[in-house]
Amino acid sequence: MAMSIDKDLCLGCSCCIDACITGALELIDDKAAVSEEDCTECKSCMELCPAHAISD
């Protein structure tokens, strides 16, 4: 269970990381990356992404 990040759309702005309360998001090589173990699919990151790069 995890949100999904489109690396082509992702700008690496890292705003999604600021939204994540479980530490499921990190910046790897300037792109957001999600950990399946920690993601609860609360969608806070998706709501915040300015590039619409995150989907459920």
Partner: protein, 423 residues
């Protein structure tokens, strides 16, 4: 246990770490990026040269940024490009023009990566420990100190420090985790993308231009900004929100609106983005052992120079706290009087002066045309420009009342929010 944990290695965090370490404290900095000098988040990267901006008047010389009134300096050896003019432009190209008579810069474009790299190096020389590529995602405060939850490549750990400086930016996770956002109102969430474009036509390299009006295919201003990259490389800031995404606005602006001809031969070089939660300011930015600084505590933004000042004062404040003095209270006094957004009714004033989307395209044309007989005082300040603009427009208030009575009433209604005796 560390003496100080700094969350975030932007200009505020790095300056706080450097200042605290410079006074002998054991500091650790947590930063989500591997390399602090890689900038992929949208940022104007300019210094605002207004005398009195944030109660300071910075100078750039001898490879330094000098904060005369606050009493410190920061090394900066990178490029510095002068911005001399600012324009607000209506659909029919009527312009409000801000510039100094003597041509001195209103703003200076700089390279934020170079600034941050220099700050990081000075931190390292002072023995600051860095945890890069590490996200601080939760925290708790107690009498003994602050515990921060960290993740790095999926591996979780905790870190404890007697004091924490929260400098993780406008959407601060840690300020939220510590409950410091209680009492703040969330106004809006702005989604912005800055597009760096090569081959833009009719681009004036030394100016910042705000194109206002629906004819430009955007509800918010479309802003064309100088870059450090040469005469044919421009930045364009597009602001939207979740329901009006910047990518769609960008497509319309560059293909359908009045600006489309500028982009006929343009090539997209890169994009940087930012989603920003506009919270009212944290008037008292500390709680227990934690002090929130910079954008983390601001209404929207403190700007790079404001962040450096916050970091400097926070570094000094935390030294005092650790010797039992009320350092955070002292910081709060400085914070409250240095930023325009901490003034009473600041947001109502900003709302009352707003141009878009309040005024229609034909109203913007009419009002901006009234100002064309003068060049307004040079300023890049988002607080000062609206005041100067409305003073200029309202020098013609009898004419407006006579020729456009409905518009006149609309202006009066909006300015009731501004409190000052405009009328």
């Amino acid at each position: 246990m560390y003496e100080v944990a700094v969350i975030g290695a932007g200009p505020a965090g790095l300056m706080a770490a450097r200042t605290a370490a410079g006074q002998g404290l054991k500091v650790v900095v947590i930063e989500k990026r591997r390399d602090v000098s890689r900038i992929t988040r949208a940022c104007w990267q300019h210094f605002i040269m207004d005398d009195g901006y944030e109660n300071e008047c910075i100078q750039l010389r001898d490879g330094k940024i000098i904060f005369l009134r606050n009493g410190f300096e920061v090394a900066y050896n990178g490029p510095a490009f002068h911005i001399t003019d600012k324009y607000f432009i209506s659909p029919r190209k009527h312009q409000v023009h801000f510039a100094h008579k003597d041509g001195r810069p209103i703003g200076v474009k700089f390279d934020k990566g170079i600034l941050l790299r220099g700050l990081r190096e000075s931190c390292e020389r002072l023995g600051v420990e860095f945890r890069n590529g590490t996200v601080a995602y939760d925290a708790a405060d107690s009498a003994q100190g602050v515990t921060v939850n960290l993740t790095c490549r999926g591996a979780k750990s905790t870190l404890r420090a007697r004091k924490a400086i929260i400098a993780d930016g406008a959407n601060s996770r840690i300020a939220d985790a510590l409950g410091m956002n209680k009492g703040r109102t969330l106004f809006a969430i702005a989604h912005s993308i800055i597009y760096t474009l090569e081959g833009v036509k009719d681009y004036e390299r030394t100016a910042t231009k705000f194109y206002m009006g629906l004819a430009y295919q955007s509800k918010a201003s479309v802003v064309i900004l100088p870059t450090l990259d040469g005469d044919h490389v421009a930045d364009m800031l597009i602001m939207g929100n979740r329901n009006d995404p910047p990518e769609r606005i960008y497509h319309n602006v560059t293909t359908k609106g009045l600006l489309a001809p500028m982009f006929e031969q343009a090539k997209l070089v890169k994009r940087t983005g930012c989603a920003l939660k506009a919270f009212t300011s944290m008037m008292v930015p500390f709680q227990g052992n934690a002090l929130a600084i910079g954008d983390a505590a601001a209404y929207v933004e403190v700007e790079n120079q404001g962040a450096l000042m916050c970091g400097y004062h926070a570094g000094k404040a935390v030294v005092k706290e650790l010797t039992g003095e009320k350092g955070f209270e002292g910081y709060t006094r400085w914070w409250q009087k240095s930023f325009e957004f901490n003034g009473p009714e600041a947001l109502r004033v900003a709302q009352g002066y707003a141009l878009v989307p309040t005024y229609r395209d034909d109203e913007l044309d009419y009002l901006f045309a009234l100002t064309e007989d003068e060049v307004l005082e040079g300023t890049i300040s988002q607080y000062k420009s609206p005041r100067l603009l409305w003073d200029s427009i309202l020098r013609h208030k009898e004419k407006i009342a006579r020729e456009r009575p409905e518009l006149y009433e609309k202006i009066k209604r909006n300015h009731e929010m501004t409190l000052k005796g405009t009328f």
